[in-house]
């Protein structure tokens, strides 16, 4: 009986596959995708989560393909926390981030910073650096001793952000903001360094940093 039933089920399946094969397979794969993504999502807690609101600009697990919106993945938690606090206080200016940061509780700020710090930093494949600018940027980075604060591979540490693989347009916008005094850092070093760089130098640095690997060999 069991055998017969299995046989019938098999026959029905074959007929269905012949008729709706593509559709059925598509549906099966969709269901499978839903299961996998739901499982991965719930590993961080139940739906919905605060970080949902960050996805549009900062990307899946904090890696943005958009060169102007920064990737948060692998950023030091200290750095992220400080940025959310300074956005909320108005010390760091950004019309989109400021009101958003103001609406977050301390607990949410802690959780978001912790979450993004734990996500794997990915290389910036979406960016195609200019080879000459990249080489020039490399020299400037060495001369400017970026590694002293941002770490040996510029992956960030403590209050200093990861620069390797960050969005090129974002990096340039920050260097410009430091140079023009629109963004400040507690020690004033970024302002001092950026002010000595010409606009062309800043662009070269952005090309170099954006194309740096996030998992150096």
């Amino acid at each position: 009986m069991k055998k017969k039933l299995l046989l019938v089920t098999g026959v029905v399946l074959v007929v269905l596959l012949a008729l709706f094969g593509r559709d059925l397979l598509g549906l099966y794969r969709l269901q499978d995708y839903l299961d996998t993504t739901t499982q991965a999502y719930e590993a961080e807690g139940p739906w919905p989560q605060t970080a949902d609101a960050c996805l549009a600009c900062h990307g899946k697990q904090g890696s943005s393909l958009h060169q102007r919106y920064p990737s948060l993945a692998g950023q030091p938690a200290d750095y992220l926390k400080t940025q959310l606090h300074t956005f909320a206080s108005g010390q760091r200016m950004n019309p989109n981030m400021q009101p958003l940061a103001m609406s977050l509780t301390e607990k949410q700020i802690f959780e978001l910073s912790d979450y993004y710090a734990r996500q794997p930093a990915l290389d910036n494949h979406g960016f195609d650096p200019d080879p000459a600018l990249r080489a020039q940027g490399g020299k400037l980075a060495a001369a400017g001793a970026c590694m002293a604060c941002h770490g040996e591979h510029l992956l960030g540490q403590g209050p200093f952000p990861r620069l390797a693989g960050q969005g090129a347009d974002y990096l340039l916008a920050q260097l410009d903001a430091f140079a023009e005094g629109r963004r400040t850092d507690p020690s004033g070093s970024m302002q001092a360094i950026s002010a000595t760089l010409s606009p062309a130098d800043r662009k070269a640095l952005a090309h170099y940093l954006a194309s740096l690997a996030t998992a150096p060999k």
């Binding site: 969709l30 269901q31 995708y33 890696s63 958009h66 019309p95």
Partner: protein, 494 residues
């Protein structure tokens, strides 16, 4: 309103004229061109004498232009519209696709109950046509694909929609903070509320997408009170807010929504100044307000501020605004700068296959793509809201990524587009900052009372201030009417 007495008899006389204009507006109804030519002429001469206008309108979006049109129709000639961009329309914008065709890059739909914008369109002789939804929508997720006829909806669980509709009855659209249940409802995010409804995993993505499109943020950060006020705008019917057929995404304008603005602007002549951002608003608490612009100083007795609250933060106010209003502007959410794309094809080939051209991706790059072809399908256009950070910023690369997605949903013909347009509202220029308002929990309880009251001679307008359909084009039109009425009435009283 704190007003100093008129400084001289000259002023007094022109005020009497204005009084007449105001009275005509109030009594005359539709026959608003009633100000006698001689009086009009006098008013104009007077203005050029003392250089002070009756009204300055900041922003040539749908709200500011509607206000200007009403002032003009009421016989007021002493006004100017100051626009920062070198175009009109604000958050409505037509992409020119060539050959006389367009696709909308900004706000584009109207729906049931949006009578203010519908009336305006009729007056401007702009026709409407239905959004194309006949056929099957394609749902994509990973390697998965499903064709399903959603009958002009987004496939939302209507049982949950009905619960929201019921709740929305106690949340007045124009003043959610006055709701009888404000304490309880404004504490919650839509997400917290949905989590209590036992939403199935397969439906969560749908709620994430629809709240992102309608409210500017996924449920986790959307205030329940605000979302309910939006449903309240839609006659307390969730399906009239968040669906296509018989809903707020159901009707388009022939020639695109920006046409309403360009038509209104045409009638303004030199009263419209483009590329004229206002940097400072001084003496707003005195009889004559001074506006410092990139094209010099403008002085006016009343100012209609028809720009987004977040944009007000980029203007210096002298003296500083009252704390309530200042706090509202600082806290106004501005993190929803949508990126909207248009892929152009020779013809809407998908229609022959029984598809409606709509694609929804589960946790993918495309939030929602839809058939945005012109009324008779002369060419095929797929518009989409995309997840900005999941698509390359470079337009050519974005085009390739999206064409591949459409090939999976609509067929290989999608790999050969004849055009592509990409508008990232957060980056295109600094004059929008954001699109719809992702009002978080607690916002209205704290700031609601500061939304509308005028500050001195500043009258707040723009869709965010509308009593009904705030955030929509219809709200913009309503707020424009309201701004003009307020300006005329207060000038008449002066």
């Amino acid at each position: 309103m704190a007003e100093k007495p008129p400084s001289n008899s000259f002023d007094l006389k022109r005020r009497q004229l204005l009084k007449f204009a105001g009275a005509t507006a109030a009594v005359g109804g539709l026959g608003l061109h009633a100000l006698p030519a001689s009086a009009e002429g006098t008013a104009r001469v007077r203005d050029s004498d003392d250089g002070v206008l009756d009204v300055a309108i900041i922003g040539a979006g749908m709200a500011g232009l509607t206000a200007a049109r009403d002032l003009h129709n009421a016989g007021c000639q002493s006004f100017v519209v100051l626009e920062a961009r070198n175009r009109v329309g604000g958050r409505v914008l037509n992409h020119d696709l060539g050959g006389g065709q367009i696709s909308e890059a900004g706000g584009q739909w109207i729906g049931p109950g949006q009578t203010a914008v519908a009336d305006l369109a009729r007056e401007l002789q702009i026709d409407t046509f239905p959004t194309y939804y006949q056929g099957k929508t394609v749902v994509l997720g990973g390697e998965g694909r499903l064709e399903v006829d959603l009958h002009g909806t987004f496939g939302t669980d209507e049982r949950i929609g009905a619960k929201l509709s019921e709740l929305s009855k106690v949340v007045p659209s124009g003043a959610p903070w006055t709701s009888s249940r404000v304490a309880e409802l404004d504490k919650l995010s839509v997400g917290e509320w949905l989590a209590r409804q036992g939403i199935k995993p397969e439906d969560r993505s749908g709620w994430d997408t629809s709240l992102t499109l309608t409210g500017g943020v996924p449920p986790a950060r959307m205030g329940l009170l605000h979302f309910l006020s939006m449903i309240n705008s839609a006659s307390c019917d969730y399906m009239k807010l968040d669906s296509i057929k018989d809903s707020a995404q159901g009707t388009r304008f022939v020639g695109g929504s920006q046409l309403l603005c360009t038509r209104m602007a045409e009638a303004l002549g030199d009263k419209l100044r483009l590329a004229c951002p206002v940097r400072e608003i001084a003496d707003w608490d005195r009889e004559v307000v001074r506006l410092v612009t990139d094209q010099g100083e403008v002085r006016a007795r009343r100012v209609i501020v028809a720009i987004h609250p977040a944009l007000c933060n980029q203007v210096r106010f002298q003296p500083a605004l009252p704390e309530g209003r200042a706090a509202l502007q600082r806290a106004w959410p501005a993190h929803s700068p949508a990126r909207k794309t248009a892929m152009v094809y020779k013809r809407p080939f998908w229609r022959d296959k029984g598809l409606n051209g709509h694609t929804v991706e589960v946790k993918g790059q495309v939030l929602w793509a839809w058939d945005n072809s012109p009324p008779n399908g002369e060419i095929g256009v797929i518009n989409a809201f995309i997840v900005n950070a999941m698509v390359p910023s470079e337009p050519a690369a974005a085009q390739r990524v999206l064409a591949q997605i459409y090939a999976r949903s609509l067929g290989d013909e999608a790999l050969n587009p004849i055009g592509y347009h990409d508008h990232d509202w957060g980056q295109a220029d600094p004059w929008s900052i954001t699109c719809v308002s992702a009002i978080p929990p607690g916002f209205w309880s704290q700031h609601g009372e500061s939304l509308r009251p005028a500050c001195g001679n500043l009258i707040w307008s723009g869709t965010e201030t509308a009593e009904i359909w705030a955030g929509y084009m219809d709200g913009a039109v309503r707020s424009g009417h309201q701004g003009a009425l307020q300006a005329l009435a207060s000038l008449r009283q002066a």
